[in-house]
Amino acid sequence: MTVLLAPRPRTRKKRGGSWGFRIAAGFLVLVAAASAVGPAVAPYALDEIDFAAIWSGPSAAHLLGTDQLGRDLFSRLLIGAGETLVGAVILLVLATVLGVAVGVLAAWRGGWLDAVLARITDVMFAFPGLLFVVLVIAVFGKGKWTAVVALSLAYAPVIAKYTRSLALSEIARPYIDAYRAQGLGGLTICLRGVIPNLLPALVGYLVVLFGGVLMSLATLSYLGFGAQPPSSEWGLMVQEGQPGIVQGHFLPTLVPGAAIAMVVVAVNIVGVRIADRLQARG
């Protein structure tokens, strides 16, 4: 599992927030709202098939037209927003809990435990791209939750490595010795002292990571390894709509594709900004 994180360019502008940031943040709020109320306000049901309206273009009845089964694209997009985003958020939370726990433990205990964890991380990094996740799916079968858990296992070492490097310098600080002198146990010190102090740097990193997480999960569903029909997870929608482009029906595949891309771009813009802010404060 390799995730390339190049240093982001130093383009620190006005502190108030540039237009790019405002638009991106506004867009994300809109998408979050859509995914919260989507199923309630969608004009059609997720799997409402209408063979009389296959691949119809945008109209008053179907805002974005329909797909190869005559299902309303706009409704599916709205309903799918929740599934797409919630899956990625759960994935990131799982990976973070695991990664932070392992990273802090490795930094705190050091010695053989650190060496073993480093070796495990090395082996995980020997699998380029999504290959480790694909192996897990090959064994446990396809499905949304397999994909989520497998991806969180793949992202955990990335987070653990970053957390470990942060935690090492944190543990060397004098207040840790002060806590020790008070007779506090290792677990208490880590939970009350080390981890809260790592949070600012970690949160910025995680938001930047979230864009990649979204892409990976969508790629898995596109390949057919994640969410299964009749779900309208966006990656799956792209896959199901793809045969239509040969006949010139672009919307069923390009609309969900563009939705994924726009959310990832917005998350990256917001993430870089948050990381900058937290770094500047900390």
Binding site: L4, A6, T11, F127, L131, A138, T219, Y222, Q242
Partner: protein
């Protein structure tokens, strides 16, 4: 020399562990490995059970089975595909050339445009061209490969009909033509990484004293860029280029699926869908080995190209 041996040893150890993970993954599946390997319950015939048993030596302990498998793999024997009833090595051999051609094509594009844009951005640093390049490549990197690929197909293959919609052509120029959109898709995702590293490495050189000295002697800017800045910046650029190219081997899984190319990337997807575990293992192992080989070779070779790195390695 000791460094080289240690690095190669580390690679071998990681490879052995990774191959063990790939092999023993079938034991992680719920239930008996036998039922997992046989897959769909419809075609459970005595012959098939016997074949699976023989291929995996299921009566022996795990390490023994791994030993049989690994020694077979070293001799080029990956077992037989459950689906195609052919040796896996034959399928792999017929599918690999397309994938390698695709990766090579994408690597050439990445080399020309990625490093090229990075150079332009560094030379025109903190000016409009720099901002546009950094912003544009970052944007391109934020679009998932499969979305990018489908968008390119929609515009350039279906609308404009410049390229075929799917497939890889039948060799020679036709193949080059057919692989153009897939190669662009594969390289665009990594454009941001490589151009940013190029830009960063060069900007550091621009600020260094030897470039200042070169400038003081009145050399023309293009010679300074070529002979002083670029020459000093090659190390990180080559390292990142190799890493990104090696990752592309795994990136073909999505790209080949989008463009309907029958290489090993789409083979992996097929093998998982048809529950053909020997094939899954072989493709997986091939990709991991290729990835590790490329990254290790660059890591080992770089100090010979750039003596400063060798000095750093010795002092640290």
């Amino acid at each position: 020399m000791i460094r080289v041996i240690r690095r190669l040893g580390g690679m071998l150890l990681t490879l052995v562990i990774a191959s063990f993970v790939i092999f023993s993954a079938m034991y992680a599946a719920p239930g008996d490995p036998m039922t997992f390997l046989i897959g769909s319950t419809e075609d459970v015939t005595p012959e098939r059970i016997a074949a699976v048993r023989a291929q995996y030596h299921l009566d022996e302990p795990l390490l023994g089975q791994y030993w049989h498998w690994a020694s077979g793999v070293l001799a080029g024997d990956f077992g037989e595909s459950f689906k195609y009833h052919q040796p896996v090595s034959m399928i792999l051999a017929s599918r690999t050339p397309v994938t390698l051609a695709l990766v090579a094509y994408a690597a050439v594009l990445l080399c020309i445009f990625g490093i090229g844009l990075g150079i332009i951005a560094a030379v025109r640093r903190r000016r409009a061209a720099d901002t546009v390049i950094v912003g544009g490549t970052t944007l391109a990197g934020s679009i998932p490969e499969f979305v990018l690929g489908i968008a390119l197909v929609a515009v350039f293959a279906v609308q404009l009909q410049w390229f075929p919609v799917a497939g890889a052509g039948s060799g020679g120029l036709e193949r080059l033509h057919a692989l153009t959109l897939p190669a662009i898709t594969l390289s665009l995702a990594s454009l941001a990484t490589i151009s940013r590293v190029t830009r960063q490495a060069m900007v550091e050189q621009f600020d260094s004293e030897h470039v200042e000295a070169a400038r003081a002697t009145g050399l023309r800017e293009r010679y300074i860029v070529r002979d002083h800045v670029l020459r000093g910046a090659w190390g990180p650029i080559i390292t990142m280029f190799a890493l990104v190219t090696a990752s592309m081997i795994a990136g073909t899984v999505a790209v080949e699926t989008v463009f309907g190319i029958s290489g090993i990337g789409s083979l992996l997807v097929e093998a998982i869908n048809t529950h053909d575990f020997p094939l899954v293992q072989a493709v997986m192992l091939f990709m991991v080995v290729a990835y590790m080989l490329v990254t290790t070779i660059v890591d080992v070779a770089l100090p010979f190209l750039d003596p400063r790195i060798a000095e750093q390695a010795v002092s640290s």
